[in-house]
Amino acid sequence: MPPRNDNRRLKIALLAAVAIFWGAVVVDTFLSLPNILPKLKGATTPPPAPEWSLAALRSGKTMQAVAAWFDAHIGLRSFWVRLDNQIDYAVFGQLVKRGDGTRLIHSPGGWFFEKQYLDFAISKSLVAEDEYRRRIERMRRVEEKLARRGIPLLYVVAPSKVEVYPEHVPAELFRKGRPEQTTTGYEVASPLLRNSGLSYIDGPARYSRWKQEGVPDLFARSGTHWSYQSALRVWEEIRASLNPRLKHPIPAFAELPSRPGRPRGNDRDLLDLANLLWARPYEHMLPKPVLRAQQEVPESQLPRILWVHDSFGWVLIEQLYDAKAGRPSDSLYYFATQMKIPGGVATDTKIAEIDWPTFLRDYDAVVLVWTEIAFEFDGCGFYEALDKALD
């Protein structure tokens, strides 16, 4: 056995390394060191600030809040979280959900899904057919009321990735049944929509057809929304439906040549949400179309479209402004937050206080983009609000 102090220098170096590492985490907790790793992806609720009153101190609430603050601001957090996720994913082939956050599902080949879409696909409609009939009648009324004001309304139903690519969902997750054995809310409403005379684009049907025709990458493997590539097909449908009714039609998008590359932005949002240290091996190459900003139509001759939408709408909005094919306008995200587009900066406007007849005056069209799984939400109150507010 060697004497204990024969490698004293090594031990001092080790202690110094521990101190430096420890210090780096502490400093990063309070002062934020430059980011070595990208910031963690995903939206989180910041913990409440500690309350420093005597009562809070005595009850221990202050200490609990300090601990929660520490958890949320711990130095090198991006490294810690990504390291833990990488072990789960790379070693054990799983992404473990903790807390209430978005639950990810993945399967071989780098396919990612959001669990809520799977739940929808295997759940029966919660809304009765009669209720859908009543709602669709209201949708039609709102469309007519807007048309009388010269504003065409188009409803775009976005498809669910789980419904388009069920074969890539791990089979054991279809315990309650498979999508083809379940009649979802949208499937109940779909025949009613078809016969209603409503102006709408049936995304699930279109995507099903395109898939049968062999169109690849309708959804990126690592994304939750329609891919940039397939969204251009949706744009063709939108133009075909809206342009005949628009004073200022939407110009066609001109696509510049592009090659398949690493997924970006919308096409990798689920992979990003997995927050891995090393995501490269799980990236599936696909093209991201590059749109040429059109010069032919002056901005004053472009349409100003009001968007009422869920997250599927962002891809369409991004492409519209990449192609400079629309005037700056507004987004009513989830019919809950008004945002200025392009840019997506939220305003202070309270949706419930909007004076609709005045508000709608400046728009050439209204486009609703809602995923099939959210069909039951009935536009999150959009139709009800406009039905009441418009003559």
């Binding site: 031990k11 957090r77 833990d84 789960d88 082939g93 799983q94 903790r98």
Partner: protein, 473 residues
């Protein structure tokens, strides 16, 4: 504050160590005391006053006891009784009053009268442990086995020293007194503390926590709807969880103490490798077993009484030990269960038990310990008996739809290996010794300790990160 929390690891601990080592040497005990009080007050500010108040009273009474002439046994006994009364009284009130009032109300319910109005009493963290420590001090001073300290600060430091304050080990004053007045702060001891702390942190965060989630899921199921394989999985997980959890806490306590020069006794010595229940209790929570022997079993007569009384006393000591663990009939039953087997082994004779082949003795001992944990984990005796029935009588119920992450299965296997490997294996690896004996052990500790620490921090940070892809509303 938990040792396995980020606020402790990167807030309290570095700040404490900086103040401790950068301040003048003469202030170190004061720094340790203030740090310990802050640590305790963190979660329970009001209860820190209880600790300080009762500690000051102990100090005064112990000095008064020591000042009395040798012949004044009655007066010394009176002072001891007074000290024990308020210490055990506080423990009884804080820990057991809710239980006794509940039982009384059940009785009143049977008699058809209304329940006693009662506001639930909050349990101060660690009161079971620091009360026992105080008893060792007071009784040892009374017996003349220890000299009372002249320094109130030193006594308060002894009872409140944060590494052992919340969950032990239960350390006697005379084991710590010399260390309080003069201890060596060496690089080797510091590194040894870091290693031991990392080992405990890893065991707690990487093994005990995920296994505990499986146990929690299974024990949350009504035993009437639980299938037999999952019932076994549940109790197996809990058996490993409680060991990994408690032993990890002791590892961290020993490690933290070394960081500022203290050396604590070992509390766990691979109990699941035991070949009898008697041996199990020599290896499980050793400081409690020693306390119970010295401060209850021996005063009851120890081995000086007749065989029948010895057997009863043994059983009684375990009954009390069970009740000390928690104010519930399940803990009493757990104590009685272990007391029964300890007494039985006493009747059979330890020499005979030692002759049973290891291949038979070890699994039987483990099985008995595991079945005992059912009482420890279940909320009521009725649920415990139903759970035990599920272990041996299969019901025609559908198999539980249990989502166990793949990582947890690997963790379970690893925990089983660490729990079942006998002590000699760990000795050979040099994991339990204070200092590494060879270069290989040194670098082995460095590698394992670093990996465990990083992975544990990663798991802790990730537990608090639950992102949504977008905020929807």
């Amino acid at each position: 504050m938990l040792f396995s929390s980020l606020v402790f690891l990167y807030g309290f601990l570095p700040a404490f160590l900086l103040l401790y080592y950068l301040g003048p040497k003469a202030w170190r005990n004061t720094t340790a005391l203030l740090g310990s009080l802050l640590f305790y007050a963190w979660g329970e500010p009001a209860f820190a006053l209880l600790l300080l108040g009762s500690g000051t009273a102990d100090y005064a009474l112990s000095l008064a006891m020591a000042k009395l002439p040798a012949g004044a046994t009655k007066r010394r006994r009176g002072l001891l009784t007074l000290a024990l009364a308020y210490n055990l009284g506080a423990l009884a009130y804080c820990k057991y009053s809710n239980f006794f009032v509940d039982q009384f109300n059940v009785l009143l319910g049977w008699l058809g009268t209304g329940a006693l109005p009662w506001t639930k009493v909050l349990l101060p963290i660690g009161i079971s442990f620091f009360t026992f420590q105080k008893i060792t001090y007071l009784v040892d001073v009374f017996r003349g086995k220890a000299q009372p300290t002249r320094s109130l600060r030193d006594y308060l430091l002894y009872i409140s020293l944060f590494p052992h304050l919340v969950a032990g080990p239960i350390i006697r004053f005379h084991d710590l007194a010399d260390q309080i007045t003069g201890r060596a702060h060496t690089l080797d001891r510091f590194l040894s503390g870091l290693w031991r702390f990392a080992l405990g942190l890893g065991r707690k965060v990487l093994l005990a926590n995920p296994i505990g989630q499986v146990a929690d899921q299974i024990f949350a199921v009504d035993p009437g709807r639980l299938d037999t394989p999952h019932a076994w999985l549940g109790i197996f997980c809990y058996t490993l969880q409680i060991y990994c959890d408690f032993a990890a806490y002791s590892d961290m306590a020993v490690g933290l103490a070394r960081l500022f020069g203290f050396e604590f006794c070992e509390n766990f010595k691979h109990p699941y490798s035991s070949r009898s229940i008697t041996e199990f209790w020599r290896r499980w929570h050793c400081s409690l077993s020693t306390f119970m022997r010295d401060y209850l079993y021996i005063p009851l007569g120890g081995n000086r009484v007749g065989p029948a009384r010895q057997v009863f006393n043994l059983w009684f000591v375990f009954l009390v030990s069970g009740f000390w663990h928690g104010a519930s009939w399940t803990f009493v039953a757990w104590g009685a269960y272990h007391g029964f087997f300890i007494s039985l082994e006493k009747v059979i004779g330890h020499e005979r038990i030692r002759r049973i082949p290891a291949l038979l003795a070890w699994p039987v001992t483990f099985l008995l310990a595991m079945l005992g944990w059912v009482f420890f984990r279940a909320d009521t005796i009725a649920l415990a008996t139903q759970y035990l029935a599920r272990l041996f009588v299969a019901l025609p119920v559908p198999s539980l739809d249990l989502a166990v992450p793949h990582r947890t299965w690997a963790v379970l296997a690893l925990a089983a290996v660490t729990a079942f490997l006998p002590e000699s294996w760990w000795d050979r690896l040099g994991w339990t010794s204070q200092h590494p004996a060879t270069q290989a052990q040194f670098f082995g500790r460095l590698a394992v300790g670093t990996v465990l620490f990083l992975l544990a921090c990663a798991a802790l940070a990730n537990q608090s990160y639950n992102p949504f892809i977008y905020f929807r509303f």
